[in-house]
Each structure stands twice: as structure tokens, then as C-alpha cells.
Symmetry: C2
Subunit: 315 residues, 2 copies
Amino acid sequence: MKVVALAGGVGAGKFLRGLVRAVPPTDVTAVVNTADDMTLHGLRICPDLDSVTYWLAGLADRDRGWGRAGESFRALEEVRGLGGPAWFGLGDLDLGAHLVRTGWLGEGASLSEVTARLTAALGVGVRILPMSDEPVATVIDSMDDDGSGRTDPFQVYWVKRGARDEVKGVRFEGIARARPAPGVLEAIEAADAIVVCPSNPVVSVAPILAVSGVRDAVAARRERAAGVSPIVGGAPVAGMADRLMPAVGLEVSALGAASAYRGLLHGWVVDERDADLAPRIENVLGMRVAVTDTIMTDDAVAERVATAALELATG
Amino acid sequence: MKVVALAGGVGAGKFLRGLVRAVPPTDVTAVVNTADDMTLHGLRICPDLDSVTYWLAGLADRDRGWGRAGESFRALEEVRGLGGPAWFGLGDLDLGAHLVRTGWLGEGASLSEVTARLTAALGVGVRILPMSDEPVATVIDSMDDDGSGRTDPFQVYWVKRGARDEVKGVRFEGIARARPAPGVLEAIEAADAIVVCPSNPVVSVAPILAVSGVRDAVAARRERAAGVSPIVGGAPVAGMADRLMPAVGLEVSALGAASAYRGLLHGWVVDERDADLAPRIENVLGMRVAVTDTIMTDDAVAERVATAALELATG
């Protein structure tokens, strides 16, 4: 069974570890958000691509959630001591990927090619595709505590300022020119199942769907498409999606998250805590709902979540 | 006493630690070679600027000679594992400086400004100036073991290929457009003493002198200028200068090294092992010679070497 997963970062990584227990990794294509990529210190940093890669390679730090297990931060502490920007948690191991990626991009390789080389080197069987080889940059328009307007690159809003500003708008700069990376549309068209990972609908999945042709390709396969709610009990399982969803008119609930995919998905997996929302999701959005434990504390739970999503997508 | 030191990397760093025991650090301006700088993994790397900075800040690894004491190489091992270029010894601590420098350069700061910020952050009292804010790149034309011609950036020749190719020529690309960094000519003109550090005459000091106006400025102050031989007993104290000097017609000796500065220096410090060369240096090159122990195993030795050079320069 060929499966395409639309993926953000950590939540997607955990989910994909379960998915590759349910189907062979080589049957899975992960299409990953690149709109929160950034260039820092001259290095090209792709947080979601790296999160998904590290989780699938077994290198992720499950306790901290982000980054590499056994990570150290010696270079970052030097940056701090030298007066450079040290708000982004670049680990020494993580730097290896950024260095290699930046070097290869500088030599003219596409992000797809770089990603293929990195995942091959780490023995990842899943095909990981960036949503696009062209740069797209999420920009957050917001208002700070003093009532002043701000416009920040996503990682500045998210990491440096801790998502504390009141979000007024979310834009994906460059999205109009971004073409799907090679293989993205073909994978969606050929998939037996399309799954939306439990990722932030506003800044992780929305940019993927906004790449030219992707939304239509998914909509055309709606009967084969399902998603997993990143919102459990009215709050994000991880991250700060609750700060972003209201700004785009989404209720912070499993129903609100599902409504982001109206007309795109056939099924929606919610947590047991949200079982009471199932009828509304089914009635209002016309999605079939599966209820299960979605807090992926280990790969076995993630496998059950993935299986539920696959059953909805193919049922 | 205002002192200007023309400096390469490690030998210069050791020497400067002695110099700042002989005169106040704030009286010293080090004009540092940047022709073996390179961009690797997208990062701007300035080996000589960093060596001099690390030595003066007390952060250098005296045993290994290059890089930071207490260094680790976790990022580099990741780069190797991911299939990236791992031939250049980028340490995790060292990366901090490269990251900060690359970021600030990207924001539009000049290399002089970046260097001033880095040295201030590390509490270095010596004013460290790059020879130029414009990039200059040493290129080595050579012949490999198979008799094939090669053209390599300096660090590729030096580090990646271990200086094993037969050097046919040395070029400094961009040198014609390179202007002296702000303050370089003024410092030379105002100096009470100009000292050439025990650095490679072919690839460390020659590029500095080749920057527009620098050679003439030093020549105009010849009576105040002295140098320290980087060659002792017919071999470099460190590095592989013996592989480069013959290619430009310099004998690998304290005399040969001195001859690189014919007409520029008033005095030359040689090691006790080379005392027999003193008469020829004095007769052939017209330099006054001081003989002392120049193997700078500690700062006290370096101070005696610096004092000898200052006495020649000002005597």
C-alpha cells in the first residue's frame, strides 16, 4: 500500500515511526513543510525536514521532543559568548546536517537532492520530499504587549519570542512561485492512502497544501485521505498551535483542526478525550471519525494511530 | 611604543603572546593574512585571524598547535557520516566563531568590523586587522604524483592534500582589487616598530605585502622594521613552508626566508642553530641579525624573541 504523509515536524516524526510499523517504509512518501526553514549564520536550516529525518532514523530526542538525542551545544554557547544570535537551539550534532546541506545547496544541488542524500546516509527508508525546492517563508504579523505591530519570520515569532505576540495574520512568502518538489504530485496521485500527520494545521500543513497543485491533488483523492488531530482536549499535544489557530479562524479543538481540511479529507482521527466531538465532525464536516489514544508516548501507540488513519483513508 | 606585526597563523600567535609581554597589548596592531580564508559549508572561515585571536585570548591548543584548547569535533563527525567534506578540522568551539562571523558578514558588516567585535568579545587587547576587507584567495598551481596539473584553493592543497603536490606557482586571486583594511596603512606609518612574525613568507606574509600600498608603506619604514625567521635549521618550525619556498625561488633556510624581505626589513632574528648564517644575511641582504632561541615553547621564550625583534627594529 503506497502512502503519502503530509508532515510538519515533531508530531509528524512520532507518527511516521508508527506508520512504518504498519506499512513498509519504502511504501511511504513524506511530503514535508519547508515554510519555516530559515537561514541563520549563513546556514540553511530546515527544522521540519530534520525533525522527520531524525525521528525516522532513530536519532531524535524523545524526552526533549526536538533535536538529536545525546546532543551538545558547545558551538551555540560560543556563539552566545561572542555576542551572536543564540536564540535558536543549534546543537553540535544537528549542525552537521546544516553544514552539509548548506554546502551542497551552494554547489547547486536542489533541496530534494540534498534531502535524498541526507536520508540515504542515515538509512531512512521512507522517501522524504520537501514540499518544494523553492524557498517559502512563513511570516507572522502580530501585535506585541505594547500594542505595536510586528512582522517576524516564523522562527523568530515561534522560538525567539516564544509565540507571545498576538497573531494577526500568517503569510507564506514565495508560495505563489513555489512549485511542488519533483515527485510530490505524482506520489499523491498514485497513493493508496494520504494521511495528514498530527501537525500544526496553520503553519505546518497549510503551506504544503498551498503549494501549487497540491491542494487540488489531495482534494481529488479525498476518498483516500485522512488526518490525525494535533489538538487533544482543546490544546496542542506539542507546540503552540493554540496561539495560531484563532488568528485564522480555527477553534482550538479537534473539530477546529479538522475544519482546516474541509473538503480534503475523508476521515479524522481524534483522541479518546475528544470522543464527544465525533458526531459534530461527522455531521458538520462530513468526515468519518476514529477515536483512539493519540498521545504517542511510544512507537506502539503511534502504530495504532497510524493504523486508525490508514483504515479511515482506505475504508 | 606602537608596534605593527604582520602575521600569519600559529607562529604569529605564539610570537604575539610574547610581544604583549614586552609592550602593552593596546600598543600592538596585528595585520593578519586573509588570503587562505575560505568558504566551506557556506561558512566564512579565516584560519589566520582565528589563530591569532585564539592565541592572544589564551584559547589556543598549544599541544596540537592549531585550533581551540578543549576542542571537540562532534559536528565534523556528523558531516563525515552524512557524506559531506570533512577534511578541514572544524571544531565545535571553533564553529562558534565561523557561525557568528558568517552571520554578521551576511548582515553587511565588513571583515574588519566582524574581527573587532570578535576580539572585543574575547577580551583581546591587541588590535587585530585583516589585511583587507576584500576577499583574496591563494591558489596553488601544482603537479600531482601522476604528473597531472592541478589548481587548488590553498586549504585544499595544504590540508586536504597535505601539501604533497609539487608546487609550480602561487597566486593571490583578487589581490589587485584588494584595498588595505581601514587602519592598516595608518598603523604602519605611525609605528615605532614593524615586526614580521615567524610566519610562512610565501603564503602568509607575501599576501599582506601584496595588498595595494602595504609593501611601499613597510619599505618606507625599513629602518624600523625587523622580522623573525620561520625557518630553523633548514626546516619550518611548523607547517610545510619547505614545500612552498622553493617554488618561488626561496632557499629553505633562515637566509632564504630573509631574502623574501629584501629591501623591506632592517633586522632579522634567527635561531641559535642558524648562527652561522648571520654573516651572509648581513652581507647579502644588508640586515642586522640577532641570534636567539626562537623555538617558542612558552610565552617567556616568545617574549625574548619579541624583544630581540623590537631591539633590531628600533636600534
